[in-house]
Amino acid sequence: MSGTFVGMPAFPEAARDAVRDTTLRGNLRHATHTIRAKRAKAVAELEDWARLREAGRQIKDRTLRRLDHYLVQLEEAVTAAGGTVHWAADADEANRIVAGLVRATGEREVVKVKSMATQEIGLNEALAAEGIAAYETDLAELIVQLGDDRPSHILVPAIHRNRGEIRDIFARTMSEWGRPAPDGLTDTPAELAEAARLHLREKFLRAKVGISGANFMVAETGTLVVVESEGNGRMCLTLPETLISVVGIEKLVPTWRDLEVFLQTLPRSSTAERMNPYTSMWTGTRDGLTGEGDGPRAFHLVLLDNGRSDTLADEVGRQALRCIRCSACLNVCPVYERAGGHAYGSVYPGPIGAILSPQLRGTASEIDASLPYASSLCGACYDVCPVAIDIPEVLVHLRERVVQGGPVTRRGAKVTLRPAKGHAAERAAMRAAAFAFTRPGTLAAGQRLAARTRRFHPRRLPGPGRAWSDSRELPKVPAEPFRDWWLRTRGGKDAEK
């Protein structure tokens, strides 16, 4: 993934600062609670939500089960409609392909629709290295780009910024990138949206190359689908002469009809709308099957693997590839709400990021090894997921991978991971506990010892125990454990056991 995130500290350290940042906490609390209530209402409008969710899960699982077949089918359909399909095994290759395509047009700037895949591969940085300026056109991406910031949410990458901060960023930096912010810009959202409209309009109207991702690709027809709100997507998809779409290989659905499920579940899950303002669907180019003079003359589809096929090899973890990037799991997550998106050290924050990043990138780095633990396993994410990804199940599975090691697939090859360093003391404790817990006598002896020494227990613990006692009192150990009370008062009753 993007070099921006190399060297990130582990999640607990990164989260510590976020928890203490009261502005950030306020921004995140306000935004996530606003959308939470709206989503619940939008979902409640559909009495068949549970069935739509299950159908979405099944469609995605069916796609993944025959992914090779559908990819080939998609390639044929896109090619037949006048598009060109490229295959990129990793981020570097995808960046090379896109940079080469842009260079071939002779252009030095591109307009971009918000796309997680291009964020993931660090496309903007790669293009900049080639002397090509990439302009983000989604409002939140624009805020991040102008603020020289990192995205912190899948749907709303600038969720960590409030309106006042956005105003300041616009007023300060728009002039460096193009049309300056209007004088006397206030922090009302309508004025901020207007400022973005004016700033980006000149870029849209002169753009010759557009870059996008896609929410869905339909294998049987070769149709790509982009779901958006602002119209920046439509601008980038229809005005330029060349359109390059970088899409993860898991974004497929087999049939046109399958869209009837996701076009109902995605808008309600992400922006809590019955339907998002704009959805664009296109199949190839005007040289293929479609209308006269409508849209780009050249269409390139870059199919991106970058760890997805490795994820597919894991029977438990592969369900993460069902994700349709709605971000409902972020909005309900109590950990995300307090730690913020940056703590996840990835363009994919929140619960889905905690299972996606360690699979796409592996668990070798400190941040990736800490992500599976960035959850209290409360299950709110699984409840709202429109494709029923059991995120807690995958989190626990990845914890196992971190502490136990075992077989994984990296870049297509099966390798055996060693248990992660730094868990040795925990492993020993777990081993000791498992020993005691299979021997009731040992457990009882330990409980009695704790009870007898209870007057000497400190209120605060030293060393690793401080993690608890810095913020919480320890429970008081009772005079006798329950089992001794039972033995004392009802001793004869189950003497045979």
């Binding site: 935004a31 606003t34 068949d48 069935r51 299950e54 159908a55 099944q58 469609i59 069916r62 025959r66 090779d68 990819l71 295959w87 290759e93 989604d138 409002l139 939140a140 805020i143 709303v156 600038a158 969720i159 309106r163 959202p189 901020l192 207007e194 409209r197 109207l205 339909v218 149709t223 709100s229 602002e230 119209g231 920046n232 439509r234 998809l237 229809t238 005005l239 046109w256 009837e260 076009l263 109902q264 019955r274 339907m275 998002n276 303002p277 704009y278 664009s280 669907m281 296109w282 199949t283 479609t290 209308g291 409508d294 693997d305 096929s309 490795d310 090899a313 909005n331 697939t409 297509g412």
Partner: protein, 218 residues
């Protein structure tokens, strides 16, 4: 080995331990939500369009040209884009308004100088308050309903109205460029609260045109 083969081989190896049986999809979800008369479906469309800040009007064939003239004049439009196949009678009485015929040579900047656009539509979805354009001659190229700041879309009711997303997909041809529009452009990017009016037309007016001359809807 090409990257295509690398990726396809990785995918095949990743799936090698997985049974090849194709999981079936249970499509017992609803084709539409609730049961409504035709009239109620049109009313729901109007209600949901308005809920997302589209301005909804109703007209019959006799009153359409007059209504369009009024809407364009109230808007202060001096020019209006006309897709090639738009019923010529719709803008007949539009007076001294400059009619700009869409041509492939029009640059985006030229489109940007036009005040309004009037189109038909392919299908409208009541449950979601959505109109869908498919690039047919009465709707034109995708860009003409994008760059001008004012879009008037005429929906023939009840003929072009369906209840639900599944019904709409069945009517649409995936080979055509499709644009689904639900209200004017909007954003939720500032504090996850919806604000209307960003890059697409900031004013969307929808005219529900009752078919069959005087057969007025309630």
């Amino acid at each position: 080995m090409s990257s295509r083969d690398v990726i396809l081989n990785r995918v095949r190896r990743a799936l090698s331990g997985t049974p090849a049986v194709e999981e079936s999809v249970d499509r017992t979800y609803l084709v539409e939500h609730g049961s409504r008369s035709t009239e109620e479906t049109v009313d729901l469309l109007a209600e949901n369009l308005a809920d997302y800040r589209a301005i909804v009007h109703r007209a019959d064939a006799d009153g359409l040209a007059q209504l369009l003239r009024r809407l364009l004049s109230e808007r202060g439009a001096r020019s209006v884009l006309v897709p090639p196949g738009l019923d010529a009678s719709w803008l007949e009485t539009a007076g001294d308004l400059a009619r700009v015929a869409d041509r492939a040579e029009l640059t985006p900047q030229e489109l940007d100088a036009v005040d309004s656009v009037v189109t038909g539509c392919a299908v409208a979805i009541a449950e979601t308050g959505t109109i869908v354009l498919d690039g047919s001659p009465d709707q034109g190229r995708r860009r003409i309903t994008l760059v001008p700041d004012h879009h008037i879309c005429v929906v023939r009711v009840p003929g072009q109205v369906v209840s639900s997303v599944p019904q709409a997909l069945r009517r649409l041809d995936p080979g055509r460029p499709l644009t689904w529009i639900s209200g004017p452009s909007a954003t939720s990017d500032i504090e996850l609260d919806r604000v209307e009016g960003v890059h697409g037309p900031r004013t969307l007016e929808v005219v529900l045109l009752s078919e069959g001359g005087s057969a007025r809807l309630a």
